[in-house]
């Protein structure tokens, strides 16, 4: 069987593809940043001795880690839709990715927090710092260094998982590729180019993360 590649049509549609790639990047960065903030709070809640805090955090983490991300996107889009809450594809995918990012990162952060000796907390308190200052200046900076690499892995995972946006008709890279190939029937060409774009995006994110870490983390841990 002979397959003749036709790349021209793909190059013609490059602006749309690049826009899709931009939406993917934007979506994953937002899902990651918001996910990090929520995960810090969930990790602190999960370590709490009081069940009022730890139980909701545990439920969040268990559901996020033990159900398919696809179902979470469906729940946000079709599930909430059935209940009368209509989210746009972007918001639905974003919410689902935040939900699952926060779930996974909570466990990472909890491990990070627990790896910092309690004596660091006592020493900071003995200098007159408030609990919030201890977290802000002493605990969080050390915790983030220790979990930085697992965190960037989650970031890459989140970029690739955002391709599930295709299923709710979102215009991120996969959805856009799907739409464009169906207009031209050059399926293979479009998906090859999209795959290369995903590869470039994840490498770009990993490289930025490594540059940021060199700038940010000077001392030893």
């Amino acid at each position: 069987m002979e397959y003749v590649f036709h790349w021209n049509i793909v190059f013609q549609k490059m602006p749309q593809l690049l826009h899709g790639a931009f939406v993917t990047l934007h979506l994953s960065v937002s899902a990651m940043l918001i996910g990090i903030v929520i995960a810090v709070l969930l990790a602190i809640a999960k370590m709490s001795k009081s069940r009022i805090y730890s139980l909701p955090a545990t439920i969040w983490v268990e559901i996020a880690r033990n159900t398919p991300a696809l179902f979470q996107i469906y729940m946000a889009y079709f599930g909430l839709g059935a209940l009368g809450i209509h989210l746009s594809p972007y918001v639905a995918v974003l919410s689902a990715l935040i939900f699952v990012n926060a779930g996974y990162l909570t466990e990472t952060f909890r491990g990070g927090f627990q790896s910092i000796p309690e004596t660091q907390y006592n020493a900071s308190k003995s200098l007159g710092m408030s609990s919030i200052q201890v977290y802000r200046y002493i605990i969080l900076p050390q915790m983030f260094r220790r979990i930085y690499h697992p965190m960037t892995n989650q970031f890459v995972w989140s970029i690739l998982m955002s391709s599930l946006g295709i299923l709710v008709g979102m215009n991120e890279l996969s959805g856009e590729t799907q739409r464009l190939q169906s207009l031209s029937f050059r399926t293979l060409e479009f998906f090859i180019v999209a795959a290369i774009m995903y590869f470039i995006i994840t490498k770009f994110v990993l490289l930025s993360a490594s540059l940021v870490s060199k700038k940010l983390f000077k001392g030893d841990i």
Binding site: A123, S124, S126, L127, G128, M129, Y137, Q142, K218, G219
Partner: protein, 241 residues
Amino acid sequence: MIKIQGVYKSFDELEVLKGVDLDVKKGEVISVIGGSGSGKSTLLYCINGIEKIQQGNIIVDEIDVHAKGTNRDNLRQRLGMVFQQFNSFPHLTVLENASLAPRIVKKLKKKEAIEIAKEELNNVGLSDKFDEYPTRMSGGQQQRLAIARALAMKPEYMLFDEVTSALDPELVGEVLDTLRMLSDAGMTMICVTHEIAFAREVSDKIAFFHQGIIEELGTPEQVISNPQKETTQKFLSKVLH
């Protein structure tokens, strides 16, 4: 002045302090000696309110440490503490370690905080280490940093919790020298220590702790050279060989 009155402290079932009374006057150096698990370190944690107490009072300059309305974060600015583990902040340089609390707790201007930190670091002999990260320094240097960091808050009292116990033997001297310097400068100090010779040399009073109470209290001559209680004699004969 620090007044400790009838203090009881327990961790769940385990009673650690069983009625401790002790007064520390301004300018005094008091060493607390005794076996492991006798409650010496716990007493320090109770004085600055890191640990709660079940009964009794601890009054620091007329402020009841464990009263409900007490702002303990404020109170701790008066009570510097140095721990057995060095507890340097590994992500901050030496200078940042010492200037952070003056800046964020006392709200000093950055320049002012750095000046104070530099002065205290100079006093403990770390003037060539400002930009170093603590994990690259020896234990003795890290412990001197911890002392300078506490002193940069200009505390009225210093609490030392076995500050030489985690050090290699050859590094103990430099830290003890720093403590000597402080006591010469008139700092009020409570030192929980296993260094009996050092305690005898610098202390105005020595408190011997045994099973959660102060078994014997007096001048170094009274407690170390001429102990009255059998438990004190036993303890000293063990540690002095």
